[in-house]
């Protein structure tokens, strides 16, 4: 089962649309880590609204995705963990260990926008705007 990944400005949005096997989860991790580089994304939203179960492996893969893309300069937000899943995860003793979460897609986007504004205010001009890489500009001369 492929997970569609949408590029939305400086962000990537991955919407998990059904239950995923371990192989699907591992594929998603590879895809996202690669695409964050290809699209020079600053943020990544993984929407798990349609996921039936988040067990230890799924939870660990989400953490891995957040940490790996974090090493590549993108912040990950997990959105759409519904109440039943949250309860099951706590009973099972699972944790997302510092990975940002938001209620839904809208809140997730708002979170990333706040982060982007804060980063820009703290270090203006540190990174070029997404989509315009310095190398591409130079090649244009």
């Amino acid at each position: 089962m492929d997970v569609p990944v949408l590029k939305q400005g400086p962000y990537l949005i991955a919407t998990v649309q059904s239950a995923l096997t371990d192989a699907d989860l591992a594929q998603l991790r590879r895809t996202l880590v690669e695409q964050v580089g290809r699209y020079r994304s600053r943020g990544l939203i993984v929407d798990v609204t349609a996921v039936d179960v988040l067990d230890s492996f799924a939870c660990r893969t989400l953490r891995d995705i957040a940490h790996m893309t974090g090493f590549r300069g993108a912040e990950t937000v997990i959105v759409g963990i519904h109440a039943d899943l949250a309860f099951a995860m706590v009973q099972l003793g699972l944790s997302l260990e510092g990975v940002a979460t938001a209620l839904d897609l809208e809140e997730g986007l708002a979170y990333l926008n706040r982060k982007q504004r804060a980063a820009k205010a703290a270090a203006p001009g540190l990174r070029p705007p997404a989509g315009k890489s310095p190398t591409r500009d130079r090649r244009g001369h």
Partner: protein, 134 residues
Amino acid sequence: MAISEHIPIKADTDVLAARQKGRALGLQAGFASIDITLLATAISELARNILLYAREGEIELRLLHEGGRRGVMVVASDQGPGIADIERALQDGFSTSGGLGLGLPGVKRLMDSFEIRSLPGQGTVVTAVKWELR
């Protein structure tokens, strides 16, 4: 009338199949949606343990009727290496496979009853039941 299903666990797709069958059985037993999620999560974790530690095994799911109450029994069995120190395996944070299988204490909390039998070299049988809420 006993409804029982045996799901062989040999690959990651079987983990998915087992928890989806568990979900269907929970629905049949009249479980609330939260309890179906707890049951499916427990089944997923037990099936994962089979793959991880024994490579293959079986999940049996059975619909129970007892005193007008319905429940789902999960029997996860394998002929893997077994667990030498069961008491330790039931402590939070214990895992022998690099931190992947939090497993057993969590599964115990997800279900209403939980029993484990294991002999080193002979395998492991976990029996757990979830009852409908009354």
